[in-house]
């Protein structure tokens, strides 16, 4: 269990020389792990502490209770960001689940060129959100992209100007995010479909179930643990989304596509409101915990059940 050798003598001096001899080993094991763990714990605690101080341009000590939190939550910026997060999070997660599932089912039909197709659906994941956001900002720009193309082709009344439409702009982020990461859902679903017991499928077919019925009643129900994993991973992305919005809309038009991560950045580095910025970051963490804690509990129960079965 422990790393101390059984043969080490118990007398004082040789034991110390043993420790010295094994110093490189201890250092190699502990220094990276301690650095990682210490930065996670101390950085989190420090940010939480700052969120309760009156810090603005520089960190200062002092105690203002929840004043930073109430100020952030009362601000129009945060309210819009939070509403956007609810809309963006649910639309993006739901639509990328559906897209990923459809793609996985299509690829599961023993089609030719499956490997090539799978690579096509997955390649956006290798590209940065900055690149994705920039490219989609061109495609969705009404004077430059799809709308302009359709106009040039002769259909001049065609309108697709969500990027500059306050009410619809958030959907451009949904589109780009789905393009970027529905392949992830597909990959996980496809692995799930491939691991369904062939005997169950055969039994369903013998019972006279058609392909759609077999999928709906027999195969898809086995996928729900994967579905939960996909939902949690995608929500985690949605909650901390920053690069994509920065490159695609930069929060605009106006502040119509503001998201929590942009509010944090704005408060910390553009308005020099460190206390409020830290409070907004902690609020992001809390939103994340609302998603992650039930997931962790569910995983724990699953694992217990698996070991007891």
């Amino acid at each position: 269990m422990t790393g101390t050798g059984a043969a080490a003598p118990r007398t004082g001096w040789p034991a110390i020389s043993g420790v010295v001899r094994r110093l490189p080993e201890y250092m190699t094991i502990w220094v990276p792990l301690l650095l990682s763990a210490a930065h996670l714990v101390s950085f989190s605690l420090w940010t939480i502490w700052i969120s309760f101080t009156p810090s603005t341009l520089v960190p200062v000590s002092g105690w203002v209770g929840l004043r930073n939190y109430t100020a952030v939550m009362a601000s129009r910026n945060w309210k819009i960001a939070f509403d956007n997060l609810l809309l963006f999070g649910s639309a993006f997660v739901l639509l990328s689940l559906v897209t990923g599932l459809i793609l996985a089912i299509l690829l599961d039909q023993r089609i030719r060129g499956e490997n090539v197709l799978r690579s096509i659906f997955l390649y956006p994941l290798a590209v940065s959100f900055v690149v994705t956001g920039t490219v989609w900002s061109w495609l969705l720009n009404p004077g430059l992209g799809i709308q302009k193309l359709v106009h040039d082709l002769g259909w001049t009344s065609f309108r697709f100007d969500w990027l500059v439409d306050r009410d619809m702009a958030i959907w451009t982020i949904v589109i780009a995010a789905i393009w970027q990461s529905s392949g992830f859902a597909m990959a996980l679903f496809l692995a799930g479909l491939r691991s369904v017991d062939a005997d169950i499928i055969k039994a369903a077919q013998i019972d006279g179930a058609g392909p759609i019925r077999t999928y709906w009643r027999v195969i898809l129900p086995t996928l729900w643990p994967i579905t939960i994993t996909v939902v949690v991973v995608q929500l985690q992305f949605a909650i901390s989304a920053f690069d994509l919005v920065r490159a695609l809309t930069n929060g605009g038009p106006g502040i119509a596509t503001q998201l929590p991560a942009l509010v944090v950045y704005d408060l910390m580095f553009q308005r020099s409101q460190l206390g409020r910025g830290a409070a907004a970051a902690v609020l992001m963490l809390l939103i994340l915990l609302v998603v992650l804690l039930p997931y962790a509990a569910w995983r724990y129960v699953q694992r217990r059940r698996a070991t007891h079965a």
């Binding site: 301690l34 996670l40 690829l107 659906f121 997955l122 390649y123 290798a126 193309l149 970051a281 992001m284």
Partner: protein, 285 residues
């Protein structure tokens, strides 16, 4: 449901799959074509179109010509910055993660579960919780606005992923192997070097690809902790589109986007299988 006859339903499936594949490829195709059209041609028509004359000079301008923030050296210095951050940080985090993963899974020591549990919390903790502390730490050790500072950040933060990847891989190695080697007198490093490392090629490839892709594509730390000539390419792309918003040069910008995306796309094409394995390994935490 899984027969190979060419029923109408199968034609429909192929049609549907091809359509969706085209939609996924379209943005890349549009940018590639644009990177070969002149700025005037794009300005007259739209971003979507076939080049009338092949403007290869866009790539030269993107690589070493256009100006960002009063420096006219193209995207080259920022690509170099990204490489100088990504390559060392990938190597360091992978090496340290492999050793740490081996230590917590096979060597075992007092407190290993605890420290491993805390380290993996790093997979979930939002970057925003660490922005201010990193600012202060980097300033105190004199690494603010340096590439070394970014290497440090990505190495330490990458440990959460690399340790998890390697630990989950090593846990399947039989403990008897380690026990036998220890009875023969092999120590921590010898076992790692002679037994663990030769078995590690698949997981090291997965880890390197994962780390490289993530660090290369990272934006928030790059834009927060570096400015001007020190920025990685993701931050430079944003600065570029802001800098030439007045006089659009979409041909050159498209070429810059392609160049910036090329390293990770190439790695994806070469190591796609390992890339996907990393994705699923990262998901099933």
């Amino acid at each position: 449901m899984r027969d190979r006859t060419f029923a109408p339903s199968r034609i429909l499936i192929y049609l549907l799959v091809s359509l969706i594949a085209a939609a996924y490829l379209a943005p890349l195709a549009v940018v590639m074509l644009n990177s070969l059209r002149t700025n005037q041609e794009i300005a007259q028509a739209s971003m979507i179109g076939w080049p009338k004359q092949w403007a290869w000079s866009n790539y030269l301008a993107a690589w070493s010509g256009f100006c960002v923030a009063e420096t006219c050296a193209g995207i080259r210095p920022y690509m170099l910055n990204s490489a100088l951050v990504t390559i060392p940080a990938t190597i360091f985090s992978t090496m340290l993660g492999a050793i740490a993963g081996y230590a917590v899974s096979l060597w075992r020591f007092r407190g290993d579960n605890w420290i491993y549990g805390i380290v993996t919390l790093g997979l979930f903790l939002p970057q925003q919780m660490r922005l201010l502390p990193w600012t202060i730490v980097l300033r105190d050790i004199g690494l603010i606005n340096t590439l070394t500072g970014l290497v440090l950040i990505h190495t330490i933060q990458g440990l959460s992923f690399t340790t998890l990847f390697c630990r989950n891989y090593y846990i399947a190695i039989p403990h008897e192997l380690i026990r036998a080697a220890r009875i023969d007198g092999a120590g921590f490093f010898r076992i790692f070097w002679r037994i663990i490392l030769p078995l590690s090629a698949p997981i090291l490839i997965v880890t390197v690809i994962w780390q490289f892709t993530h660090i290369w594509n990272e934006f928030l730390y790059g834009v927060t902790f570096t400015t001007g000539q020190q920025q990685p390419v993701t931050a430079a792309l944003i600065a570029l589109s802001a800098a030439i918003a007045d006089i659009p040069q979409h041909g050159v910008q498209s070429a810059a986007v392609i160049i910036a995306a090329l390293p990770t796309l190439l790695i994806y094409l070469l190591g796609g299988r390992y890339f996907v394995r990393g994705l699923t390994a990262g998901a099933v935490k």
